[in-house]
């Protein structure tokens, strides 16, 4: 809660600084005494994990940029030089490459957690919308980054994605040419993508600041989805959540390190170890795993422009969720009907990702995957535009607990004033 500050400068120096630039006060109020619901579970540790991921990507990225050469002729070789001749270059690059996948893994968990517990509902609409913006910036940054090694999949991925803009009527081709800085993906494109790939993470960092600022006004939502009513419902952020976040962060880093040191190419595509060749199209062009669901949507629509609209709409839809959900209750824990639709939605997203990874003609159980993707795409949109508003109106939620403290500590401990 952004209540009155509890900061009490003790030494003269602290008082001197506080009266001029109250930065220690800000740190104290947001990271130390900040009242946090006492019932946050493991899924609430991903905010901290994501901050860590962003920091790792920025630090490793800055070092990589010291050795990388943004030139169509030299980029691939410079990445190989990083892998072979730069001291611990292999480590820095594998951390950065796997870091992107870890970042998206964490952000998807974070987003699905928000969906499940209704964290987008009033008064947290702006936190959610800023979050969608961060996600958009992340996908753009990841896309630009994937182009930089200038392997086959980099080049052809860039070609496919930028060509989507040519679907815009009348000015489409002009937009594509403007994006490329050329008449095809080439040296000019690579250079501007590098520039943007270096810029966007700092914009993300700024918007993350807004995200956290907005969070600190109403405070955290929680798995019960009920408001904090008394100081008993909360614990100070430090040490309770610093230690909890730290523990789960290290668990996450163990998984991260497992990939970096033992399966560094797990998320990669072998084609990207072949230098970009505009004359040879790979048999299958696939984006990185975290974009596969959207890629499946794009391909499931026969019309190019409509496909692009559907794909963009899938992300834009997220912005409207706070007003599409008509339920009075936030958490799916108390929404027996919505809970089922939520898990179906999760499965549908995985199915979409799977469809996106397969070739266009592929089938499963004799059913063409393109039809599976079509039905899944329909469910994706129906979930937000039909199921959310309707279920919110017709569903009878379970009884909510009286308070967070009562739910966690039981009736006896929840009595006021211990």
């Amino acid at each position: 809660m952004s209540g009155p500050s509890t900061y009490n400068p003790k030494s003269g120096i602290e008082k001197w600084i506080d009266s001029r630039l109250p930065l220690p006060r800000l740190m104290h109020d947001t990271m130390s005494t900040f009242p946090t619901p006492r019932n946050l579970n493991i899924w609430y540790t991903f905010g901290g994990i994501l901050t860590f991921c962003l920091a790792v990507q920025i630090v490793t990225g800055i070092v990589l940029a010291m050795h990388y050469v943004a030139s169509a002729n030299l980029a691939f070789g410079s990445v190989e030089a990083i892998m072979r001749d730069v001291n611990y270059g292999w480590l820095i690059r594998y951390v950065h490459a796997n870091g992107a996948s870890m970042f998206f893994l964490a952000v998807y968990i974070h987003m699905f957690r928000g969906l499940y517990y209704g964290s987008y509902k009033a008064p947290r609409e702006l936190i959610w919308i800023i979050g969608v913006l961060i996600y958009l910036l992340m996908t753009a940054t990841a896309f630009f980054g994937y182009v930089l090694p200038w392997g086959q999949m980099s080049f052809w991925g860039a070609t496919v994605i930028t060509n989507m803009f040519s679907a815009v009527p009348v000015v489409g081709q002009a937009i594509a040419t403007w994006l490329w800085g050329d008449f095809a993906v080439g040296d000019a494109t690579l250079n501007r993508f590098f520039s943007l790939h270096y810029l966007l993470p700092f914009i993300i960092a700024g918007v993350v600041g807004l995200h956290i600022w907005a969070l600190h006004v109403p405070g955290n939502n929680n798995p019960l989805g009920i408001d904090v009513k008394s100081p008993q419902d909360t614990l100070p952020f430090h040490p309770y959540y610093t230690v909890k976040d730290a523990f789960y962060l290290v668990c996450f880093v163990i998984l991260f390190a497992g990939f970096v040191f033992y399966e560094p190419d797990f998320f990669g595509n072998p084609d990207n170890y072949q230098p970009a060749n505009p004359l040879v199209t790979p048999p299958e062009i696939v984006p990185e795993w975290y974009l596969l669901p959207f890629y499946a949507m794009l391909r499931s629509v026969p019309d190019k422009l409509l496909g692009v609209i559907v794909m963009a709409g899938a992300i834009l839809t997220l912005v409207f969720i706070p007003w599409l959900d008509t339920s009075r209750v936030r958490s799916c824990r108390f929404r027996p009907l919505m809970k089922q639709f939520f898990w179906a939605f999760t499965v549908v997203c995985v199915i979409l990702g799977y469809c996106g990874a397969q070739s266009v003609e592929a089938t499963a159980f004799g059913i063409p995957l393109v039809w599976v993707a079509r039905i899944a795409t329909l469910y994706y949109f129906a979930y937000f535009w039909l199921i959310m508003p309707i279920v919110g109106l017709i569903e009878t939620p379970k009884k909510l607990p009286a308070s967070i403290a009562q739910s966690v500590l039981g009736d006896s401990a929840a009595k006021p004033a211990e």
């Binding site: 190989e80 230690v243 163990i254 399966e263």
Partner: protein, 275 residues
């Protein structure tokens, strides 16, 4: 691409558990055309697994196979002679690496008159030194294609990572020439039948032959042995820091697990009375 394989298996498991059907097999999902390449042979290498390291003997023999067989057509542009003495690599002694370099001639720098060719117009060469990259067999792509019936022998530095299941792919390709083409399949002129290659018709003729090289360490140079050795060598050229990576990873994981244990204890203690 392990992720794709994984997603295939996951979906298979999901499908089975839903009881939708038992008819699907992994290959039914792939866009099988008539001449899709066969799955690579099931071979194992010493360098696989979390503690696997390169077999030094195999790396040194593999370099010999590369130099005496592959290097006639394939470049290895990211490898320098100095790398042959690198720790975690073939680990030739520096003197040996120097000698291996000196046995190879590379294009010379302009001489004192600024010439790069002699009076007869023949390009000047000099013995290679440790800092030289391994020289390419052809000066450019057109020369490579002209000498290989239109096919381009790819650079091999990253081959073990540039194909799905790369090490087994290369091994299968090298040992896959003895299978008979099905009667229905017509091998185009100038091409060779190899079912492990996409499209089955490969420009490269059978590269490895029984005793095609003579190993100085007395190892019998069967086709399988040569393939094993050169694949080990190419795995190293693709991932020269693999041993460093696995060793460091082991230490990092021990540190992280210990740290997680300490943090878990702290977490339990801090939260003891909070819930």
């Amino acid at each position: 691409m392990r992720l794709i394989n994984l997603s295939r298996n996951l979906a298979l498991g999901l499908g089975l558990s839903l009881g939708v059907g038992l008819l699907m097999s992994g290959s039914a999902l792939a866009a099988d055309s008539a001449t899709a390449r066969h799955h690579p042979k099931e071979v194992e290498f010493e360098f696989e697994g979390p503690f696997g390291t390169y077999d030094r003997g195999a790396l040194q023999r593999g370099y010999q196979v590369y130099k005496e067989v592959c290097a006639a057509c394939h470049s290895l542009q990211y490898i320098a002679f100095r790398n042959l003495a690198d720790k975690g690599g073939p680990e030739f002694s520096e003197a040996q690496a120097r000698a291996l370099a000196a046995a190879v001639r590379v294009p010379a720098e302009p001489n004192e008159q600024g010439e790069t060719v002699d009076e007869k117009g023949v390009p000047l060469t000099r013995p290679a030194v440790l800092s030289d990259k391994l020289p390419a067999p052809y000066p450019n792509e057109n020369a490579a294609r002209a000498n290989n019936g239109g096919s381009l022998p790819p650079d091999l530095s990253l081959m073990a990572k540039a194909r799905e299941d790369g090490v087994r792919y290369v091994y299968s390709l090298l040992t896959g020439y003895d299978e008979k083409a099905p009667a229905s399949f017509h091998v185009p002129a100038g091409k060779n039948y190899n079912p492990y290659f996409e499209g089955w018709a490969i420009g490269m003729p059978k590269p490895l032959n029984e005793n095609g090289v003579t190993y100085s360490d007395g190892t019998k140079a069967t086709v399988a042995q040569q393939a094993h050795d050169v694949v080990t060598f190419l795995a190293w050229t693709a991932e020269p820091k693999m041993e460093d990576r696995k060793r460091m990873g082991f230490g990092v994981l021990i540190f992280l697990v210990t740290l997680a244990g300490l943090l878990f204890a702290a977490y339990r203690k801090v939260w003891k009375d909070a819930h």
